[in-house]
Amino acid sequence: MAVITYREALRQALTEEMERDPGVFILGEEVGRYQGTFRVTEGLLQRFGEMRVVDTPISESGIAGMAIGAAMIGLRPVAEFMTFSFALIAADQLVNHAAKILYMFGGQITVPVVFRGPAGGGAQLSAQHSHSLESWYAHIPGLKVVAPATPADAKGMLKTAIRDNNPVIFMEHAKLYSTRGEVPEGEYTVPFGVADIKREGRDVTIIAYSQPVLLALHAAQKLAETEGIECEVIDLRSLQPLDMDTVLHSIRKTHRAVVAHEDHRNVGFGAEVVARIQEFAFDELDAPVLRVASADVPIPYARNLERAAFPSEEDIIRAVKRVLA
């Protein structure tokens, strides 16, 4: 299998889907001539032309609305947000329009649109560029929300997202774009609603998604080497739909769990996972489920403060040891 970066995997998915389906087009700020701020759309304008790779003004509501409108009459737009922090400007379009059109019109109008772009932080971009908002979107009925952590998942899930007939919030992580991984040759897709066990273990289940999956895997490696603790690492990959079966199955084996994400802890996505664990597997638990999350503060600029705000490998290790204590 070829080893490629997360950004290349996304680009492959876009290229293959645009070749497969002439209704797929891309729009967003700097996606064309500038080749994409994170280089995901590099070369696509040259390959597919300006009707299908559409540079837009800095108008997030306009971008989202235009994508939704085109989707309503059968195209398959992929709208890129420069970051999901900026997508807040388009929140009305995502929440009041994309999410609700199918339902409020009695199932008669579908909105096959993908909203993608970087989420999360970690490059000293401070408060307005470093927000994890997945729990906001997962809260809204009608939206699907996914956050793949590896190049293989990124490619397979973006292809699934583009073929999905529902609006999909596709959250990448700025720190993942340059990470590398094996990506299968040939056509494949990764379904939504299926969590992936990225590492098997018997002692504690670590539940994560997006970039913290990598932290969890490092933490698990260290714990195995230094303490002989075997962690099972589950990558949720998809938050809505959410695969609780894989999580509950693992907890029936390990009886202990830690949820790790970059979302804030307060009303964060982990709270939902913990609530469902206690609802469906309370008797299996030997310890309270712990959460590792971002501090409940706007993300600061200073390097040391930012590092302290985000969850770390050490935080996960500490949490695992606490649930085992």
Binding site: F25, S59, G62, G65, M66, I68, D92, G106, N166
Partner: protein
């Protein structure tokens, strides 16, 4: 109906007397349909908000008259008139208002979210100006496919102070999408007068800076709306480029059902309402039909009675229709997956 009567100069070029009568009867249907809404609402047969279009009938009727079967339209929450003008079954519209399963959206959308996909009516929207960016996307998809369809987007004067509307107008002009932005300036965004809300009271003037043709037209005279709309839609279909048209109109009733005469007295005078009622598009079209010999008194009465009967039949149909089954609660959230039922 009066085909033997020669067309007088005052009739716009393409308008035949028969077509004018059809449009007049559409306006009558809208008026009677909405007049039946108030008692049904008071009887508790409808919930939510109830925004009627009474007074503005000439706008939807005159514009939609020029839509081809394969064209599209979107509009705001004041959408009964648009759906009726587009030819949607009044019984199914009323059933939607009653929250019944036979409604145009299975009773899940209500008054503000009428829809008729078969006729290219892509919905009424409850967020002021929220659907204007969607129209740009519809227009973009038309360009993408290279057809000569057009999209009409109806919104009120209040929408002109919503940021995304300005993003949409700018993007429409950049991508040269075949969208007619029909701003129905009925003078009040709820109770806020357009002169207060807009630093530049002429909304067509404001839109001029977006690099598309703009025009301000009167909205109380069906013949004027029809003539202007024909020219504008033809221009957009053949150029293609977007067009912004400000239509000066007036709602005779309050903003919504809760905006009663006492509330209305806070923002407008009886004299003002009376001034506009003198310009009632239905009364004036009737007069025109009579004066030109396109209709007789008895025909006018007959058409009026027919429209009222249609409205009453719609109410009876809605009343007799079943509520949606409870399974509908969990349907249509996603196209392909079930939402978990928790209770």
């Amino acid at each position: 109906m009066k085909a033997e009567v020669p067309v007088k100069k005052t009739l716009p070029g393409s308008l035949t007397p028969q077509r004018l009568v059809e449009l007049y009867r559409t306006m009558l249907l809208i008026r009677h349909f909405e007049e039946q809404c108030a008692p049904a609402y008071r009887q508790g047969k409808m919930g939510g908000y109830m925004h009627v279009y009474i007074g503005q009938e000439a706008v939807a009727t005159g514009f939609i008259a020029h839509m081809r079967d394969d064209d599209y339209m979107l509009c705001s929450y004041r959408d009964h008139g648009h759906a009726l003008a587009r030819g949607t079954d009044p019984r199914r519209i009323m059933a939607e208002l009653f929250g019944r399963y036979t409604g145009v959206a299975k009773g899940k959308g209500g008054s503000m979210h009428l829809v008729d996909v078969e006729r290219g009516f892509l919905g009424g929207y409850g967020i002021v100006g929220g659907m204007v960016p969607l129209a740009v996307g519809v227009g973009y998809a038309i360009r993408y496919r290279g057809t000569d369809q057009v999209c009409l987007c109806f919104f009120g004067d209040g929408a002109m102070n919503i940021g995304p509307v300005h993003e949409a107008l700018n993007m429409a002009a950049i991508y040269k999408v075949p969208v007619v932005f029909v701003c129905e300036n009925n003078r009040y965004a709820m109770a806020t007068p357009v002169e207060f809300a807009s630093a530049v009271p002429s909304l067509a003037e404001r839109a001029k800076q977006y690099g598309m043709p703009t025009k301000q037209i009167g909205g109380m005279d069906l013949l004027e709306v029809y003539r202007e709309a024909e020219e504008i839609i033809r221009h957009v279909r053949t150029t293609p480029e977007p067009f912004f048209v400000e239509v000066l109109t007036y709602r005779f009733e309050g903003h919504g059902i809760a905006d009663n005469p006492t509330n209305q007295a806070l923002y407008r005078t009886k004299e003002e309402v009376e001034y506009w009622r003198q310009r009632d598009p239905i009364v004036n079209t009737a007069r025109f039909l009579l004066e030109n010999g396109f209709a007789t008194e008895s025909e006018l009465l007959e058409w009026d009675a027919y429209a009222k009967r249609q409205a009453l039949e719609a109410v009876a149909y809605a009343d007799a229709s079943p509520e949606p089954p409870l399974e509908e609660l969990y349907r249509d959230v996603y196209t392909d997956m079930e939402v978990q039922e928790w209770r």
